[in-house]
């Protein structure tokens, strides 16, 4: 490590160690930040050590986004807890929420076996479950508020600390229930209870590799998620070292929680395809940036396909009561054949059509808007608004489609996908829309493509009678067809 030329004395070392132990980094920023482009990391390291520079240069191409966690000594725990909730939200399946709640409840046995007093830990459990309930409701209503709710909860110190404490207790209980898996990574002859009380349960302790492994086994893998930790350090090589925990028996592409580790600190990373649905961005956020990011994502449909698979209910490796009947956790599970190819018929696939309508809506609308908003004078984009509920394209408009879903009557058989406009009230009644369809360039000209968004749009028709009356130009057209 350090050169042989200079050896600090024991006293100096002790002093340095003391300073290091007492060092408290200045902690600022939100507990969990907004998702942002990971090119910020590259920029941050642009002037740093070459090893970092090389390693971070390739980061944005693989991991498009990241999210900061406040470095207050809880960031690793916080990052894992946050991404666990976020992955549940991303899957967007009420059934998975219920499955996870049942599974986590069954793990009270484990907490009790570790002698944690229930009347004390139940407070932390309640906070964690309350957030699960809120997110589950948001998924059920498809109101698009889940991401905001999650971010707010994790920026509320008391909520976040309760959830972090709950995760710590689960990790500790898991380690104590399966000591053989973890003892080899501890110091020789270390008492496991002492280890847990000092390194896992202690209110002020950052997560270590044992804690991460315990959370992966106790919480993440059984939920069907994978956990990936990218170690950005000064080790040789051009690539960031990655360690991955994969759920057993989960083929294909599990939802992956990704952490970026920099010595002493954890943040959250995302691949572009992780970010399936645009987060509801606060309306003050810069529009152009968000638009550019999201339109990019909608073009390569192929990359979204694996995620679509995970949306299918019943496609999870663990079922309630299948692996979690009581306290019997088959931790070393040689993966039992998973029922992946047999969708559970009891799950109502009701939300799926609605969501496909919502996403097709985005795919359809966003490019039109993007071109106008980006290339014309900003003030005029107000005048190309569609129906009143569809304010800005970056807000996915599930409220609109969902609330009206019950009234939806598509009186048409056949193989055609219903148009989003059929979901609008008054579509069939032919109500005239008073909104002006004009832009600064085309005004209200019939060449203005904004008219295509008008549900009452009628393309110009060739009318033979009129043609015959005025001349014979029409005859050429008709013969050429």
């Amino acid at each position: 490590m350090s050169g042989p030329a200079y050896m600090p004395s024991d006293e100096e070392l002790a002093n340095l160690q003391k300073l290091s132990n007492e060092y408290q980094p200045e902690v600022t920023g939100p507990l969990v930040g907004e998702r942002q482009s990971s090119s910020a990391i590259t920029t941050e390291y642009a002037n740093a050590d070459p090893v970092y520079r090389v390693k971070t240069a390739a980061l944005p191409s693989k991991y498009a986004y990241f999210r900061t966690c406040r470095g207050d000594g809880h960031c690793g725990w916080r990052a894992i807890a946050f991404t666990y909730y976020e992955a549940l939200l991303r899957v967007g399946d009420v059934g998975l929420f219920q499955q996870e709640q049942a599974r986590l409840k069954s793990m009270h046995n484990l907490l009790n076996a570790a002698n944690f007093p229930e009347h004390v830990y139940i407070d932390f459990v309640d906070e964690a479950f309350e957030l699960l309930d809120k997110l589950q409701n948001s998924v059920r209503l498809m109101d698009g508020t889940g991401a905001d709710t999650l971010l707010q909860a994790f920026n509320d110190m008391s909520v976040a600390m309760a959830i972090i404490t709950y995760f710590k207790l689960l990790a500790s209980a898991w380690i104590q229930a399966y000591p053989d898996e973890f003892v080899p990574y501890m110091e020789y002859n270390q008492d496991i209870k002492t280890y847990c009380s000092l390194n896992i349960e202690a209110a002020q302790c950052e997560i270590d590799h044992i804690g991460i492994a315990a959370l992966a086994e106790a919480i993440i893998k059984p939920a069907g998620f994978a956990l990936e930790v990218l170690y950005l350090d000064r080790s040789p090589g051009e690539e960031i070292n990655t360690y991955r925990y994969d759920p057993s028996g989960h083929d294909g592409n599990p939802q992956t929680l990704r952490l970026l580790y920099r010595p002493g600190h954890y943040d959250i990373l995302y691949k572009a395809e992780d970010v399936q649905q645009p987060l509801p961005v606060p309306s003050q956020a810069p529009l152009q940036v968000a638009l550019a990011g999201y339109t990019d994502e909608f073009v390569p449909m192929a990359s979204n396909m694996p995620d679509v698979m995970t949306l299918i209910p019943g496609m999870y490796p663990t079922g309630i009561g299948q692996r979690w009947p009581s306290v019997s956790y088959d931790y070393n599970s040689t993966p039992a054949p998973q029922p992946q190819m047999t969708p559970v018929p009891t799950y109502a696939p009701a939300p799926t059509p609605a969501s496909s309508v919502a996403s097709s809506h985005q795919e359809y609308v966003t490019p039109v808007h993007a071109s106008h908003v980006n290339h014309h004078n900003p003030p005029t984009h107000h005048s190309i608004q569609l129906e009143p509920p569809v304010t800005l394209p970056i807000h996915p408009p599930p409220p609109m489609t969902i609330e009206r879903a019950p009234q939806m009557t598509v009186e048409r058989g056949g193989p055609f996908r219903p148009s989003m406009y059929e979901l609008e009230p008054g579509f069939h009644s032919g109500q005239p829309h008073a909104l002006p369809f004009q832009t600064s360039i085309f005004r209200n000209s019939h060449y203005n493509t904004a008219h295509f968004l008008n549900p009452d749009f009628q393309p110009e028709e060739w009318s033979p009678d009129a043609e015959y009356a005025t001349g014979n130009r029409g005859r050429h057209k008709s013969t050429s067809q």
Binding site: V120, Y121, A153, N155, D156, M157, S197, A202, Q204
Partner: protein, 168 residues
Amino acid sequence: MALTSGHNAPNGSRGQTVAQRLQKELMDLMTKPTAGITAFPDDENMTRWTATIEGPADTPYANLTFKLAMRFGSTYPYEAPSVVFKTPIYHPNVDFSGRICLDILKDKWSALVGIEGLLVSLQSLLGEPNNSSPLNGQAAELWDNDMEAFKRHVLARHKTSEELDLDA
């Protein structure tokens, strides 16, 4: 960013507040009292408490009662409260200002410990001092080598609650 404003306060409006947790602990202490331990808040805002522990039998502290002052910060229970002995005590891990050296008050503190757990730990510290890292070196030495002298020092330093009130 809009996020940072209003979230710096450790007690958000949504989650359980420090006062709620302390209220719950007070209820537990009153409904399920632990022998030899009392604790009660000094005022309505619950951030300062006064506690007492009785010296365990078969220790030099038997039949003596010790008063402690506890202060709870806005981050409780995720950080330990500060605790000092108000009753003068002669003990290897307590200094002459009443400050205590105990792992559970430092790196071993967990959100599960609570007031009762803390007081039970302090009570057992009386009978089982950690003489490897003493705050009071003389006490540590006498504990190991001359228990009779140790007991005399304990009794000489102790004051009853009434004596404390007279001093105040």
